[in-house]
């Protein structure tokens, strides 16, 4: 059974002028799969993640996580979320920010404290545990927020353009780290991005959305071998997938 099943999901933002954000979204994500969602700005990518995590109530359709509705999965703390901005508490040190979920879950024992520290080491911030967010760079803050989302070992990790605000060099480095973490943690990731290259480098499959209202235009397989070396971005296969995705986004089907 797939870990995440999305069936016929539609969403309309209510209001004086209702905005139809998503229409008839159906896809599945297997356990331990890394899937990306790309599409033009405003097509409903963030809305989709918010529906998957029960931050928005579902109008129509169905979201099942491990066979149960999203509300249940959220209550069972099975969903981790990394936002576009780090969303840290400015009064807490890196370590305390990472430990926040454990405090809320009242799992704040000594072994959990060690987990938080090792997660910070995992994202390369072992020497910065005592620093507050205002003492860190933007990329470092984002890494703290990734470590925070991993503390309670959610089976499903949703990431909404987590590296969107970073420069290309840092972004590439973060991608490498993210793949390392994902391979170590064996989690399932739904990753939203604007960047085609990022989507191909990271994913097993890519969901391509149309402009608003967002509909699924195509779901593209990425048959590149793992573990992936960054040099793969200059390979022939990578380039072919990129060309085909560009075509899909422009509305022309090159193949399939």
């Amino acid at each position: 059974m797939a870990l995440l099943e999305v069936r016929d999901v539609c969403y309309i933002y209510p209001g004086a002028q209702p905005v139809e954000a998503l229409r008839d979204i159906t896809f599945e994500v297997e356990r331990n799969e890394f899937i990306s969602v790309i599409g033009p700005s405003g097509c409903g990518k963030s809305t989709l993640l918010r529906l998957l995590s029960d931050l928005l109530p579902i109008d129509k359709g169905e979201v099942l996580i491990a066979g149960e509705p999203a509300v249940v999965a959220r209550r069972k703390r099975e969903i981790g979320f990394v936002f576009q901005d780090p969303a840290l508490m400015p009064w807490r040190s890196s370590l305390k920010n990472v430990r926040l979920p454990l405090e809320v879950l009242r799992r704040d024992g000594a072994s959990e404290k060690a987990t938080s520290e090792s997660l910070l080491r995992l994202v390369g911030l072992g020497d910065f545990t005592a620093k507050r967010p205002d003492q860190l760079s933007g990329g470092m803050r984002q890494r703290v927020s990734i470590a925070r989302a991993l503390t309670y070992d959610p089976p499903l990790l949703l990431m909404d353009e987590p590296f969107g605000a970073l420069d290309q060099i840092t972004r590439d480095e973060m991608n490498i780290e993210l793949l390392n973490i994902w391979e170590q943690k064996q989690s399932t990731v739904v990753f939203v991005t604007h960047s085609i290259g990022e989507a191909i480098y990271l994913s097993d499959r890519i969901v391509v959305l149309s402009p608003r209202p967002g509909r699924i235009v195509d779901i593209v397989d990425v048959p590149l071998p793992r573990p992936r070396d960054p040099a793969i971005k200059r390979s022939r296969e990578f380039f072919d997938i990129e060309t085909s995705l560009l075509g899909t986004l422009e509305g022309r089907r090159i193949h399939g």
């Binding site: 959220r74 508490m89 009064w91 926040l100 405090e103 390369g124 020497d127 205002d134 170590q184």
Partner: protein, 316 residues
């Protein structure tokens, strides 16, 4: 396949975060910068004090009409034990009102944070009350307390504390109500994802988010509490007839010829009244100067506390 970056290796390099500076400052420049922070304002104060000391005599204004610095210090010395006691009373009035008023306000805002209906019922009124100059409620409070047998004996003193409570209460209530809502919406969503309880959200998110708002309000109310205490004392102690006292407080009293009996002066406000009617201008000036210094010190304490307790808020 080679991995160019190990998991866990600090990617961005472990450089300490430094403040950017355009050029390195020489030791002399640094000392001057530090000194000028304190020396320049101190110099301005010194010039002001010198003008105050020398200008009235130079213009042939007698110092008993317009006391200069040394006459004021003389006035301080002549009235010392009384003035000292008055300062103590005023500080007590102000502190009691400041602490009780702020504590009640935090409690009230907490109730609002938990009950939207309570907030809808009372918050608009709190904003309205903020526009009222609350010190005019002193005579009203005296009349009110006079009707309560237990309080009647101390009606005037209680009215002064009551007014400092009110004057501290409303700004903090309004500020904290806003502060409890000024949370990062993303962090709030994170708390929801964690299925955090209302109380966890309050303690871990709302309360810390409101601390900067609390301090901006503490800075305002630390000053207001002294205003409330002094004006309250002035009104409460200026005569037998509380309504007359209010008029007196605004200087109308003498014009209308109300009887006054400012014998038992309490607090700096009462003392001011006394000096005013005795035409003891050096005493009057001494009261004003000492209470100004006291109020500045109290405000400074709040600024210091803010610096120490919320270091992540560097601005302001």
């Amino acid at each position: 396949m080679a991995k160019p970056v190990e998991a866990g290796a600090p990617v961005e390099g472990a450089r300490p975060i430094q403040q950017p500076s355009r050029h390195a400052r020489s030791p002399f420049e640094r000392v001057w910068l530090a000194l000028s922070r304190f020396m320049l304002p101190a110099f301005v104060v010194a010039v002001f004090l010198a003008i105050w000391q020398w200008l009235p005599p130079a213009l042939n204004i007698p110092t008993y009409e317009l006391p200069n610095l040394s006459t004021t210090l003389q006035g301080l010395q002549n009235n010392w034990p009384d003035l000292g006691n008055a300062l103590l009373v005023t500080t007590q009035d102000a502190l009691a009102g400041f602490i009780i008023g702020n504590a009640l306000a935090i409690l009230g805002a907490t109730v609002f944070a938990y009950s939207a209906n309570m907030e809808r019922a009372f918050y608009p009124l709190a904003i309205l009350v903020q526009t009222i100059p609350i010190v005019v409620y002193v005579p009203l409070l005296i009349i009110l307390f006079d009707q309560v047998p237990l309080l009647a004996n101390n009606a005037q003193a209680l009215a002064v504390v009551g007014v400092t409570i009110l004057i501290s209460f409303f700004p903090t209530l309004v500020n904290m109500t806003v502060g409890f809502k000024s949370i990062d919406p993303r962090v709030y969503e994170l708390m929801r994802l964690l299925n955090a309880s209302r109380t966890q959200i309050f303690i871990k998110l709302r309360f810390p988010s409101a601390i900067p708002f609390l301090f901006s309000s503490l800075k305002i109310t630390s000053t207001l509490a002294f205003v409330g205490a002094i004006v309250g004392e002035w009104m409460a102690n200026s005569g037998i007839n509380p309504v007359g006292s209010v008029l007196d407080g605004f200087g109308v009293h003498t014009l209308l010829g109300f009887p006054t009996n400012p014998s038992q002066a309490s607090g700096v406000g009462g003392q001011l009244n006394l000096f005013y009617f005795r035409l003891d201008k050096p005493g009057l000036f001494a009261s004003v100067v000492t209470v100004s210094i006291l109020s500045i010190l109290f405000f400074g304490l709040m600024v210091l506390l803010e610096r120490v307790l919320i270091p992540w808020q560097k601005s302001q």
